[in-house]
Amino acid sequence: MSKHHISTSINGESREFLCETRQTLLDVLRDELGMIGSKEGCSSGDCGACSVEVDGRLVCSCLVLGVEVDGKEISTIEGMADGENLHPLQTKFLEHAALQCGVCTPGFLVAAKSLLDRNPNPTETEVRYWLAGNLCRCTGYDKIVRAVMDAADEMRSAS
């Protein structure tokens, strides 16, 4: 079976890859591009561990085919920090201990960033519903929600 040649931009860098029709974007990121930050918890769109943004839209990369991202812009957890500087969400996750095992963390961070890009001042309820597609089995979500609210606060006062 011949592979597809896909040109895309990942975290602001142009990338090309070859993939089979059946490969998901998550497979491509992890297996073809060595970007293991996005995690596979279910491959059915239910856990959010594989969250990335495609053209600014939050998606489960396990539900997107590699061939679908031709010409699109992708952001993943690997692009979240700015050089040496962690994104405020990353810093707040650490300060609030919003991770235990940490396997859900990349997905939560990508999803939370996508929320704050749209809504810099979310209520607790808005945070909880926005993040309802991301499962965490360790934390009970309390510290995650606090970290997101705190990061939003800090980002608002910085801007």
Binding site: I36, K39, L94, A97, C101, C104, L135, D142
Partner: protein, 757 residues
Amino acid sequence: MDTKVKQSQGKLKWVGTRQVRPDGVDKVTGRARFGADYSLPGMLVGKVLRSPHAHARIISIDKSKAEALDGVKAVVSGEDFPDIAKEEAFIGEGPINFRYMAHNMMARDKALYDGHAVAAVAATSEEIAQKALALIDVQYEVLPHVIDVRDAMKPDAPILHDDLFTEGVTPEPTRASNIAKQVEFGRGDPDAGFAKADVIVERDYSTQPVHQAYIEPHATLASVDEEGKCQVWASSQGHFMVRAYCAKLLGLDLANIKVTPTEIGGGFGGKTLVYIEPVALLLSRRCSRPVKIVMDREEVFRSTGPAPGSHSTVKIGATKDGKIVAGYAEMRLQAGAYPGSQIGPAGMTAFAPYEIEDVKAVGIDVVVNRPKVAAYRAPGAPLAEFPVESAIDELADKLGMDPIEFRLKNAVKEGTQSCYGPVFQKIGFIETLEAVKNHDHYQTKLGPNQGRGVASGFWFNIGGESTATVNVNEDGSVVLIVGSPDIGGSRASLALMCAETLGIDYKQVRPLIGDTDAIGYTFLTGGSRVTFATGLAAIEAAKNCIDDLRKRAAILWDIDVSNVEWRDGVAHPVDAYSDEHEPMTLKQLAAQSAKTGGPITGHIALNAEGAGPGFGSHVCDVEVDPETGRVEILRYTAVQDAGRAIHPSYVEGQIQGGVAQGIGWALNEEYIYNAEGRLDNPGFLDYRVPVCSDLPMIDTVIVEVENPNHPYGVRGVGEVPIVPPLAAVANAIEAATGKRLADLPMSPPKVLAAIDE
């Protein structure tokens, strides 16, 4: 050599502070490598073929077509694994029988549940591996199956194992049955006790099996070279456990296996076993190439261990002034396809929080055609304490007593003999009850359709074997090597205790989890043992390092080591010598170590005893929608005795996580089997774990009643918090609706049916 260590003014500098975890940046940037994130050149994809039948005899397995497929490098099934004799061991948090473990990993003559592994392949790609699975020809003779515990106990039930005879009953049975074992705990004479009671409550309860549902599926990478040297990378709760079980199940020499721990994406007890590691090793041995097996979510649900479901009868009696005089519990646990549910811990924990003279708890282990159960956070305790805590609530209500006061009147304390045997040392149960009573949550008013419930919980906690090494670098920084995988922030708590003991900056300590060749044996992460036992090892290794540091100072000062004292990270000459020499910091001593005997280090291997039992008391407010039966958790406060919280944020996190899992157990989570005995909901869409919008903030109060057997007073904290929520939620629903729900999960249809009754 006695260790002269002084902490200035007894004040702790690091212990009890909220530092950023050492592995934090890796985990927020996507760098941290979990089980599925490891790869090797030439690696093959391993896949497992699973039984579609709940119960079937395997007539034959023809692998030839699969083997002939281009790209397939190895195909194995039960016949390729060594036969293992029955051998019982109590490891970690439950009984293990290696024969059963071997057969659960790969079916031999019978497939005993939907999802049971029957064969496996290694191929050059995922696609080829999938195709190969379809080409393996397994001939089954489908047998009648049994899913429900009560059905499995009936005399005419389909029998899973024809060599299984009930243990622990007299007379010894002559017929095989699905009842594997019966155990009993208690003391006194319950009948006499009940005769003294003014009020007695008795009821049947049931709980469903629930999955640990760690977000990271099981994953492993194995590589065997031509010499037979085996390397395994595995996401597990203990790499020494993986080594031991792989050796056992494959008949290999332990010395030939090296296991490297990956980051672990949650375990909660479910990763205290092996499922795929020996399979990957065998496949790799067959073709001398590395093989990676990663389960998908469906495989995790269909074939890895949930906590057992249960049917129980619980009876408790009290006098009218509120003293519990008798307790009786009979708990029938669903072991899954092989014997070994946690009837022991269930029997021991059921009444553990209360002082009862005449008490008996019976546990019965029953096999059914479901995946074999595994440990899940305080294994056995939630399903045992849920009925008791519900009954306590019912009794308090009948007696017209506040449920906290009623518990306080009967609570165990230091010196009480527990219902399961030992006398409690210093414990903090009463303190947790007092904290709930005095919490503002307990005083607030509730609205219509709302109710408040309280419940308590107990777990033993364990110690066990741990090894730790402290190596001082030439710049004065320190590497702490331990053998416990970091499952939820233990690198931080261990580094804090190490820094505290040495008297150096927390950031100067770099914790590292050594592979099985790099550090001495360390028992798996379970029983809430790591901060206690491996923590003790980190402290003792640091103390040995201090002894070494004092020796070095003594050499430099040319005085006897007994005249060197270690204070806050600095060696001080004492008494007569105090004016003669300038104190030396760890950094200065490290810089001169070549002159005083070489690298400075401290090491310890120990078997920690004296884990402090843990207690928690929770209060929960719910609102029940009378139209739909949906239960909303409005407010939740969990109080727990942590002995001492080394890193309070991670202690709170353990409590909050346990509460969320307990709420899922109480309200939503269950397995749905169809008439054919196949699991209908093997995914997160239909197996409903709590999501962010299901929960409120979970308030925590940490009570610190120090464990006298630990230098900083640590008790285990990870398991207790999953125990109280089941009954706390049920008691709150009762308060809101007047209906007592005794069958979990209390999902909307059940609640609605109860309201409409």
